[in-house]
């Protein structure tokens, strides 16, 4: 028999401020479910970043810190070094993690910092009105690439998971997607494993979550998930990049 499904207890009840159909909401629920299921609610300290999810400390029920733009991995490092027994995670967008915060994520990973990163890749700066992000696809139109991203002057999209997988301290890296139910289920599995890797003290773990930003993509939520599936998944291949065989 199906269990009764309801909002996870690690998630506060008020409505979140995200736009209709935004993947952030789903990602929040999934993270909260994982924390519930691992019994970590009282043991977790999360780190919010700067992006549309800047204030998600309001939505979770556990302790959190709001970090400066890009610096969540450094903040998480500070927390983890004070409370090595706690579970510490960062929740970061692609502008936050792959642009201004490049050095911080790379070095947290290189140090094998025992934290988990939930990396919401929606190929744009959602919060500031849809500018080009390091993850914006070639040819993609954004407010700062109005003629489509021109790789010869604006560079190529960065595959952060592949980059981070090069680092010895990064022990679990997986890319998942939010575009349909089956993928959301798979995403949850990956996020759970990432937290488990941290609990086992193995090193740095990250899950890159392909996400939508219907508002700045100028698409309905339904069209947005279609766009993700059609365009993003080709360049950002789903799957495990590191730590597939870790038993945790």
């Amino acid at each position: 028999m199906m269990p009764v499904m309801q909002s996870p207890r690690s998630l506060e009840k008020p409505t979140m401020h995200y736009c209709p159909g935004c993947s952030h909401g789903i990602a929040h629920r999934v993270v909260a479910e994982v924390i519930d299921e691992l019994g970590l609610e009282g043991n977790t300290i999360g780190v919010s970043s700067v992006g549309c999810s800047y204030n998600n400390y309001l939505y979770f029920t556990f302790d959190m810190q709001q970090a400066a733009h890009g610096r969540a991995p450094a903040v998480a490092t500070g927390i983890k070094r004070v409370h090595p027994e706690r579970t510490v995670f960062t929740y970061q967008g692609d502008g936050d993690l792959a642009a201004i915060g490049t050095a911080e994520i790379i070095h947290a990973a290189a140090r094998g910092e025992k934290i988990t990163t939930i990396f919401i890749n929606n190929t744009t700066y959602g919060m500031t009105s849809g500018q080009m992000a390091p993850t914006t696809l070639a040819g993609q139109v954004t407010t700062t690439s109005p003629a489509g991203r021109n790789t010869s002057t604006q560079g190529y999209p960065i595959r952060m998971s592949e980059v981070l997988a090069q680092l010895e301290g990064a022990v679990f890296i997986e890319r998942v997607s939010m575009h349909d139910v089956n993928h959301i289920i798979q995403a949850k599995r990956a996020i759970k494993k990432a937290f488990r890797v941290q609990m086992a003290g193995l090193g740095f773990s990250m899950v890159e979550v392909l996400s939508t930003c219907p508002t700045n993509w100028g698409l309905t939520p339904i069209k947005a998930v279609g766009w993700l599936e059609k365009n993003m998944m080709e360049y950002y291949k789903l799957g495990n990049l590191k730590g597939k065989d870790l038993e945790v």
């Binding site: 401020h17 995200y18 736009c19 549309c52 800047y54 919060m127």
Partner: protein, 177 residues
Amino acid sequence: MQHEIIIAGFGGQGILSAGRIICAAGMAEGKNTTWFPSYGPEMRGGTANCHAIVSDGEIGSPIINNPDILIAMTSPAIDKFGKMVKENGFIIADSSLIEKSRIEATGRTAYSIDAARKAGDMGHKAFAMLIMIGKLIKETGIFKPESVEKALYEVLKKELHGLIPKEMDALCVGMEM
């Protein structure tokens, strides 16, 4: 003479454009105008508002503490801005979207018109804004209808210029409500 107008409602109702149309129309008649939007994460919540000032003289602050006029397109807008309206100012409220009791609670003169419904009847919910502006003209004579036409050509994207005659019809509807 100076008109200080706040326009407030949900994102998607054309709130910010309405303000720009008012300013552009004022400018077309040689007046000074300022337009100031709500911006940033506020907009994620779904609400939107802007401040428009149309004046014969120099304009000081573009931010309005006490509007002469509030154009309200939702109940939360009335709740938030209604009491800020000057004692001798007034409210234009879309009665198809706002509960009467909340308009009354402001204690201000209010013109309730069911713009959204009318606009729906006319074939496009975007016309509601023009109906409201029509009512504004009727109550204030702030500018001539022709100036709104000019403004529409300036503010609207090229793709939408075909709609302008119908928008002007909506304006007239508003001027008669």
